[in-house]
């Protein structure tokens, strides 16, 4: 038997020697990385994933791009254009930008890149016909609203929902190719993050004759691009190989010849391949290995900031008052807001970050994440949140504040629930159910939260659902408390705030829906900011929705940010959002790789890398 086993092992060994040599050799000029599994698409307009964006950023060149300046600081610089010009304000409040494309830009098949390619690509990406996930990135451009305007046809579909149709099926964005080299685009109003949008993959150009073939982005033979790399091969579910594009206008600055993107969704498998040297960069690390890896590879294990917040959200319409409570309507909602905020004080966010997350997360005391900067002085938006002089944000997350937070919470809860002084527990708090999507990390956090509440006599059961079902349940409001998370698409707090308007598709809290729609309890007074807006005891739609609309149409950056702080104050006052931590981006990159950088959206840049 031993002989047979030995024979088998020997056979395996020989085969491997002949066939591969273990895959640990690094070829010069080649970098092997693993970002995630097979990307859903590599069409820049359709992609909405971070891994897809990283690959697309290597394949295309937009008007602007992310880069490092000489001090290693991240900046947005001109890419396909000669310079990132300032906009010219028009009398109607719109802003027009006129860009000049650089000379000599070519597609990978040798044809010239023209302004018309951008016009086509943007209209395509924004259009209802393509219905891309990120179509709303073009919302700021004039004409987008007309493009998406719908009206009721009067007919109903099989489920009884009204069927709508688009009012202007031929509407176009206000972007025009003045000539082959000049691109003119008009925004509805000035936005501070416009240059960042220009660097966003959805804004990359594609050519009409190329994308006419619906399968163009799945086959290297038809994948025509204009960036630092071309797609050399795509072995589905296995490997995408990018090779340096000789037609790229800045080809001389591209250092890495070949980028091999291996496709795997298994963090353990990624780590195995990193550890045996087959891959030099992996974008995921198994949670239970993080502490171990951080000490084993102190320089290769990287924790970078990412603009996002992990939080717990409440269903605003869920009753959490004791059965004996006589409060109704506005009074009940005011009490619930106070109770929800108080419960948020019972959690030790430092414990969650250090003991459960273990990935360098930062305890959160506001909903708008760390990493968003103010236009006036470049300070962090979250540091200016809330109104306390003693701490940052809406409550104190310091370890030293745990006891005072706890006492404060108990005092508030005592107003509404029966408290047993002997056991130090509330006796009539209704049982809660915490909903999360099946995942060990989310489960561990849920268990901690339930434990913290159990300490004051509140029972919170845990319920997990598979991802897609979970999204559906949360969206429909069939839950009382649920885990949630949000990652920004660009450096502007509005992407954390406009999701809570009544009609937003991400309004999981159900603001302004169901019973909450009738509650006239919110105040909005913007007269101090110079607006003719003053609502007392209005509904959510009459206040928050109006505030967000005002923010979106405001052109003065300083004013806009002031309004956004007001919006966050309003949101946090509902107690429906309980921030836990700000996300971080964890990955591992071999010490042999130099010239690598990443941005706060989680995109990785390998084009200037050299492998030792």
């Amino acid at each position: 038997m031993k002989k047979i086993l030995a024979l088998m092992l020997a056979l395996a060994l020989c085969l491997s020697m002949v066939a591969c040599g273990g895959g640990k050799k690094t070829e010069a000029g080649t970098l092997s990385v693993c970002l995630a599994s097979e990307p859903d698409t590599l069409d820049p307009a359709l992609n909405s994933a971070v891994d897809g964006a990283t690959m697309v950023a290597h394949l295309f060149s937009g008007l602007a791009k992310w880069a490092q300046d000489k001090d290693g600081k991240l900046v947005i610089v001109a890419d396909s254009v000669t310079e990132l010009v300032e906009g010219v304000a028009n009398t109607d409040g719109t802003v027009t930008y006129t860009y000049t494309l650089r000379d000599g830009m070519k597609w990978s098949d040798g044809k010239d890149v023209t302004a018309a390619d951008f016009v086509f690509a943007w209209n395509r990406a924004a259009s209802p016909t393509l219905a891309a996930d990120y179509c709303y990135m073009f919302e700021v451009i004039k004409g987008y609203a007309e493009m998406w305007e719908t009206r009721d046809t009067g007919n109903k579909d099989a489920d009884g929902n009204p069927i709508e149709e688009f009012v202007n099926p031929d509407a176009k964005l206000a972007v025009e190719a003045v000539d082959a080299k000049t691109l003119k685009v008009t925004l509805s109003n000035a936005v501070s993050y416009w240059n960042e949008l220009l660097a966003f993959p959805t804004y990359y150009p594609v050519r009409e004759d190329v994308v006419k073939n619906e399968k163009w982005a799945t086959d290297p033979a038809t994948y025509v691009c204009n960036g630092p790399y071309t797609m050399a091969s795509w072995e589905h579910d296995s490997l995408i190989t990018l090779k340096k594009n000789p037609n790229y206008i800045d080809a001389a600055s591209v250092k890495l010849e070949t980028l091999k993107c291996y496709l795997s969704d298994d963090a353990n498998n990624m780590l195995t391949n990193f550890e045996n040297g087959a891959w030099q960069m992996i974008d995921d690390v198994p949670t239970n290995e993080m502490a171990n890896m951080a000490s084993k590879y102190p320089t290769a294990y990287r924790v970078e900031g990412q603009i996002g917040t992990y939080y717990v959200n409440w269903n605003v319409n869920e009753n959490i008052l004791p059965a004996t409570s006589t409060l109704t309507g506005v009074e009940a909602e005011k009490a619930k807001a106070e109770i929800r905020a108080a419960l948020g004080l019972l959690y030790d966010r430092n414990y969650i970050c250090k003991e459960i997350g273990q990935a360098g997360q930062v305890p959160a005391s506001s909903f708008v994440a760390m990493g968003m900067t103010e236009p006036t002085d470049g300070s962090e938006f979250y540091k200016n949140a809330g109104s306390s002089d003693d701490y940052i944000g809406y409550y104190d997350v310091a370890s030293s504040a745990i006891e005072s937070n706890y006492n404060k919470a108990v005092e508030i809860l005592k107003k509404y629930y029966t408290y047993d002084e002997a056991t130090k527990k509330f006796t009539n708090f209704p049982t809660l159910t915490y909903l999360y999507n099946t995942n060990d990390g989310h489960k561990a956090i849920g268990e901690y939260l339930a434990g913290a509440l159990a300490a004051v006599g509140i029972t919170m059961k845990l319920e997990n659902q598979e991802w897609n079902t979970f999204l559906n349940t949360r969206k429909n409001g069939d839950y009382s408390v649920a885990r949630n998370g949000w990652l920004a698409d660009y450096n502007d707090p509005i992407c954390f705030l406009d999701m809570w308007t009544t009609t937003s598709g991400n309004n999981d809290i159900q603001f302004g829906k169901g019973a909450h729609a009738q509650l006239k309890m919110y105040n909005l007074d913007l007269s101090a900011q110079g607006y003719n807006v003053k609502v007392t005891n209005g509904t959510w739609a009459e206040t928050y929705d109006v505030l967000i609309a005002t923010i979106k149409s405001e052109t003065n950056a300083a004013k806009r940010y002031e309004l956004m702080h007001i919006a966050e104050d309003m949101l946090m006052a509902t107690g429906c959002v309980t921030p836990l931590y700000y996300y971080t981006d964890i990955f591992m990159i071999s010490d042999n790789v130099e010239g690598f950088f990443c941005n706060p959206l989680g995109y990785k840049y390998f084009m200037y890398c050299t492998v030792k």
Partner: protein
């Protein structure tokens, strides 16, 4: 082949088609009944965009109509539709890619399991109660009782991390060696035990004693008479096993990152990629039905006493 056998085979093919049709129908309605949809994501798309997408893929039509269109496309044009998740790719392409890898992995593993299993089983039977028999029995018991994810992980640690002689991902050169071995161990052990007991049974039969008494050489007795008959139960086992290995190698595919059909199947369900769920279900169900049919027919070929009806 006589008319009776032919009739039997035709009947079985008819039944097979019926089985697949039932599986397709049940899967279709169950998949659509599960909450969530193919266009759900953390960042919800606007209702208008969702409606536009649903219209593009015909998901706005009533379910029975979608069902009939789907069946018609498959029967008349063998069109499994486009994937909703991997935009721009057809389901048939994705399945073909996955099957190519899964089949290579599964067939190699099945081949190894068969050859090694039969040899080990025969050797153990011929050396009954000797040391080698005991060793084989202990080894096979271990292989059957140890789940593939433990075996796979052990192999990974040993060969991919400690010794670094084999790659950890199935798509690298030589990457299929570890998954093939992992996948083949359990069926190999089953075949060994099956061959051994069946061989022992056959070796005790009168006709073997007669053959030996007539002076037939030992190899001829073993290969010509004993083994041939001892393999009948192995054949019954082998057909379904092959289908199982090809379709059920999901765990192994996951551990070694092998881009096979198993992974595509599971992700299609979590993504609510309806055409992909249907496509993989049809392919996997057909495979199992066909394998069962083939093994029944083979059964008849090796043992003429069996009548198929």
């Amino acid at each position: 082949m006589n008319t009776k056998t032919l009739l039997y085979i035709l009947k079985r093919i008819g039944l097979a088609i019926l089985t697949v049709w039932i599986v397709v129908t049940v899967t279709f309605f169950v998949a659509h009944a599960v909450p969530g949809g193919p266009f759900a994501s953390e960042k919800a798309i606007t209702p208008a965009a969702k409606a536009a997408l649903e219209a593009k893929y015909g998901l706005d039509k009533p379910l029975p109509e979608q069902y009939i269109t789907y069946l018609k496309d498959i029967v008349t044009e063998f069109d499994f539709g486009p994937s909703l998740k991997n935009r721009g790719r057809d389901v048939i392409e994705i399945i073909a890619d996955g099957m190519r890898t899964s089949a290579k992995l599964g067939l190699t593993a099945a081949g190894i399991a068969l050859v090694v299993g039969v040899v080990l089983g025969a050797v153990a039977a011929l050396r009954r109660n000797k040391l080698i028999d005991r060793v084989v029995m202990v080894f096979t018991t271990a292989c059957i009782s140890m789940p593939s994810f433990i075996m796979g992980t052990l192999f990974l640690i040993l060969f991919a991390i400690t010794l670094r002689i084999l790659p950890a991902n199935g798509n690298a050169a030589g990457g299929l060696i570890l998954p093939v071995i992992t996948l083949s161990l359990s069926p190999m052990a089953n075949i060994t035990r099956l061959t051994r007991s069946s061989m022992l049974d056959v070796l005790g039969q009168d006709y073997i004693r007669t053959a030996k008494a007539k002076g037939v050489s030992a190899p001829k007795v073993i290969f010509g008479h004993a083994l041939k008959n001892a393999l009948i139960p192995v054949i019954t086992y082998f057909g379904p096993m092959l289908a199982y290995i090809v379709t059920g190698s999901l765990v192994v595919e996951q551990i070694f990152a092998v881009p096979g059909i198993g992974r595509a199947f599971v992700s299609s369900i979590t993504d609510r990629d309806y055409p992909m769920i249907m496509g993989t279900t049809i392919v996997l169900a057909s495979l199992i039905v066909i394998m069962n049919l083939v093994s029944d027919i083979l059964y008849k070929v090796v043992d003429p006493r069996i009548t198929l009806e």
